[in-house]
Symmetry: D2
């Protein structure tokens, strides 16, 4: 079984800078965490598309994500790691464009509220769930994190609670 991971940045990939004292998107980090998982029957291909805070994503960036998904989806499921602030926007765009051509596999968007490797980070949990979802959920565009799989058309981020909630 093969799963493609496309990385785009967001909180899940941020690191602490000892010079600035802030967290920043500077290096690709998903690969080193995927290596901590046991995946004896899964071939993971990680491709870094960009490394941005999702509030700074442009239309061009989203087109780039769409193109990358379109190139991989006929063969295998795709997991996209993404900032949570605009994850729903990217997901709806993908669903809108992908449904026209029909989805053979699930497309999973995931991310984190606290960066990978920080105390109490939800990043590895969400990555674990998303890779499992990629093998087990039906075709569709899903947001997967915190033990839940949301249809991208029926979910919003609740920033104050640092979680996603289902909506009508």
């Amino acid at each position: 079984m093969r799963i493609h991971i496309l990385t785009t940045g967001g909180t899940i990939e941020k690191v602490y800078s000892e010079q600035s004292g802030n967290v920043e998107n500077v290096v690709a980090r998903i690969n080193q965490y995927v290596e901590r998982l046991r995946l004896p029957d899964t071939q993971i291909d990680v491709m870094q598309l960009m490394n941005k805070d999702s509030l700074e994503m442009t239309d061009d960036d989203r087109q780039k994500i769409l193109d990358a998904v379109l190139a991989r989806l006929p063969d295998s499921p795709v997991v996209i790691t993404h900032g949570t602030d605009t994850m729903v926007d990217t997901g709806r765009l993908l669903k809108d464009r992908l449904l026209k051509s029909g989805l053979a596999h699930p497309v999973i968007l995931t991310g984190a509220m606290t960066p990978l490797g920080f105390e109490r980070s939800d990043g590895l949990q969400n990555l674990t769930e998303s890779l499992f979802a990629a093998r087990t959920l039906p075709p569709g565009v899903w947001i997967v994190l915190h033990n839940q799989a949301f249809d991208v058309d029926h979910v919003r981020k609740d920033r104050a609670l640092a979680r996603f909630v289902a909506v009508e």
Copy 2:
């Protein structure tokens, strides 16, 4: 959403004894690891049934597991943490008995090759996947670990490779 966890021991719950120098089943450990996961829309109820190496499980022990599952399954999915050596045996017994009454929810068996909290343990990954599977897989008796969901009738443990493999 509610998920019941039944704990029975096995490698996933073993701890290192500084007096004996061996790993042993002595204290319940699943609860403290569940607390590390973000489960904002999931209510977890953990019940310790026993704390045994699965090679030492008796027919009475398996009856106890079956009774505990039967009592919870009408309401919600059940995750059972279990030693890997006889996980398939327990799973097949459960499937045989549960199918007669019909399953309203999935029953998930999981465990680990290396105890929770040990370097390179697969325990938290498998627990994460199993709790996600409990919400998303169809009714049935499943073995979930290492990014895979196996039908309990078509799986065996490969001890040399420290993994499970699908069989006809």
Copy 3:
């Protein structure tokens, strides 16, 4: 053997805020990390004096630290966790005032370049070294971190390299 720890904030105690996306001094954290160490023959007393970025420390804050050290030093060594940016300033003030009355025990200042609990944090290493230094170094005012003990009169922070270096 008794060791007093006085906490003042700084990077070592910062946490990531999921709402702001920044790291901030909001809760006392030294105690929970001290509990991860084995200290069978050491009694640790932790007292939170303040929780500030050390660039925001005032003269009043430093007086408060001096008073707290003076109250404890006759009995036992004192470890002060402190932001690294002004650690040398506080240390020199302490040395200047304490030498007049004579030091019966060592006073150790320590901190971290990356907060406790973050990937690659030096916080627990520095805390471990400082508690060991408190038992083994001679009386004096020391900055202890990164495997080194510096005389506070002969050290400066190198921000670009994220370390301290000895000076004449």
Copy 4:
């Protein structure tokens, strides 16, 4: 500053075997943990002498340790990682032989009650303390762990309490 580390096995280096279900001395592990420490002004040279449970050490093994220490001690401090069960025996032998020629630097013996990388392991704490002790303690043969530095002639292991205690 240069510090030599000689590794000999013991609990600190044991790993969990998924095939046997026991902890065993099979691979050298000190180096990968030293890399987690910040040592900007310290050059560490790690040499694996053997990888044994210390209850299985022979007179020849101890001679090998003595020879390795003698070869390095004129230049720099030496840290020896060692099983705790016979650490005192090895330490006394070293002290007896080394005192005749005079010690220019400290020799530190350390180990762990629980292997490196296991939950609640004291291994990294003890390694951190020992590397700090190598720079700061006076010449002599010391056992360093759990926030303490023991003269090797006045210490014994208390197996029931999983610690070392000072003796007359």
